[in-house]
């Protein structure tokens, strides 16, 4: 299907040039991987006058680990994340998540920044960034801003990005405490599918946890009540049973084409118990290897 609406395609070579272009045009769309944007344009859901391709900005395609922060540029694809040595070494759970996004041909193109700009409830990157307490880095007319991942997602397809702004990357602080993680994604079959429920569990050596759900509320959910009940406790079957009851207070899954709300709620509990168990196992070097699904 041809795109019927007309727009101008521009490909600036620097961030400065990009910001100047954005200041000149009111109705623009930023193009990185295009796996969501082009589809939206085809459907007429987005009708830009100008499409600004940011793949010419070399600095945005970098993954940098400096000091104790990881910067992922807005042009970094999911395949880049999977193949990155630094991600493999320091953030293996990010690669574990990236491997479940779309399919090979989508991951080769789609970016993590694009994923959070689309801001759909089933975003896979959302729970990861929320649990890691990441910052979304933007540039725009008011200068640079750093927005907490938790504040980034406002409603389905609505983010904290303001008019005239562009996401240049995300910044993930490397936790000081030794930790491990587990990414759990429920979908209808093993291949390319959007999440019915997704979950990131981070387990720290001092017995604390960070837990974030996706696809079970309008935006990703940081499950702080669950974290508080788990923190410092030995996750015995009894405690896990108690904790899973808290899931009902944290999430509000809906019924849609991919699953019923009841099914999502039930599996969200199962996933939590298995995710906590796997993350703790990995902390001791005993859990399933990264990439091996626990559901």
């Amino acid at each position: 299907m041809a795109i019927t609406q007309e727009f101008v395609y521009l490909k600036p070579a620097s961030l400065k040039e990009t910001l100047a272009l954005l200041a000149q045009h009111d109705n623009f769309a930023i193009l990185a991987g295009g796996t969501d944007l082009i589809d939206m344009i085809k459907e007429g859901a987005v009708q830009p006058d100008v499409v600004v391709d940011i793949k010419g900005l070399a600095s945005l395609s970098e993954i940098r680990f400096k000091g104790s922060t990881l910067d992922i540029g807005a042009g970094v694809t999911f395949t880049d994340l999977i193949e990155s040595e630094i991600i493999k070494e320091k953030f293996p759970v990010i690669a574990e998540c990236a491997r479940t996004v779309g399919s090979l041909g989508i991951r080769n193109r789609a970016t993590l920044a694009g994923n959070i700009c689309s801001g759909v409830p089933c975003t896979d990157s959302g729970p990861v960034l929320c649990a890691y307490e990441a910052l979304v880095l933007t540039e725009g007319p008011k200068g640079a801003r750093k927005i907490k991942a938790e504040d980034w997602f406002i409603a389905p397809r609505k983010t904290a990005l303001e008019k005239g702004e562009i996401v240049v990357g995300v910044r993930i602080p490397y936790p000081k405490k030794r930790h491990s993680g587990c990414w759990v994604k429920l979908r209808r079959y093993g291949g390319q599918d959007l999440a019915q429920v997704n979950l990131l569990v981070l387990a720290f050596e001092d017995g604390t946890f960070r837990i974030s759900y996706g696809a079970v509320a309008p935006v990703p959910v940081r499950a702080k009540k669950i974290e508080r009940m788990l923190n410092g406790q030995k996750p015995t079957p009894d405690l896990l049973e108690k904790v899973t009851r808290l899931v009902e207070e944290e999430i509000k899954p809906i019924t849609d084409i991919r699953a019923t709300g009841e099914y999502r709620m039930h599996l969200a509990k199962v996933m939590l118990a298995r995710g906590v168990e796997a993350a703790m196992g990995r902390l001791d070097g005993k859990g399933p290897e990264y990439g091996k699904s626990v559901i």
């Binding site: 299907m1 041809a2 795109i3 019927t4 609406q5 007309e6 727009f7 101008v8 395609y9 490909k11 193009l31 295009g34 796996t35 082009i38 589809d39 344009i41 085809k42 499409v51 391709d53 793949k55 395949t79 779309g102 399919s103 090979l104 041909g105 989508i106 080769n108 193109r109 093993g190 291949g191 390319q192």
Partner: protein
């Protein structure tokens, strides 16, 4: 507004003008006469439009033609310039297609997989092909062809 793009297509330099809103898949099929990439779902889910850009498979239905300026584009026609590839021969031996609509995309995805991972197991093959839908074969003969080839 038209824009000039220069790229390499199946080993040959191409220079042409495209409009900002033209889709790569349409330009390949309608202007450059390459019919191996197909339009299936037209939204990136089915994989029939798969081509390679700089050695990586992409959904050409979700790429603007303007984006491929200075890129290296490969379609199945380019992959088999020297005749059928050994992988294609394995597909023939295993009857890995019926209507053939998905096959160009499947071959390209499998080619990318085998370049990175010459000895994939069944799960790895299934994962690499999960974005290429086949409505005829039930996938088994496709997976067998790739496994047999990579033994």
């Amino acid at each position: 507004m038209k824009r000039e793009i220069n790229f390499v297509l199946n080993g040959e330099r191409v220079s042409m003008e495209v409009r900002g809103n033209e889709i790569l898949l349409e330009v390949l099929r309608e202007k450059l006469g390459l019919k191996s990439p197909k339009c299936g779902c037209d939204k990136g889910d089915c994989g029939t439009c798969t081509v390679m850009i700089n050695g990586k498979t992409v959904r050409s239905c979700l790429v603007l033609a303007a984006e491929i300026d200075k890129c290296d584009v490969l379609t199945l026609e380019g992959l088999m310039q020297g005749g059928l590839t050994p992988l294609q021969k394995s597909f023939l031996e295993h009857n890995s297609f019926q209507c053939g609509f998905c096959t160009p995309g499947v071959i390209l995805s499998a080619t990318e997989l085998l370049r990175k991972n010459p000895r994939p197991d069944k799960t790895e093959i299934q994962e690499a092909l999960s974005g290429n839908l086949c409505r005829c074969t039930g996938y088994s003969p496709i997976i067998e062809a790739i496994r047999d080839f990579s033994k």
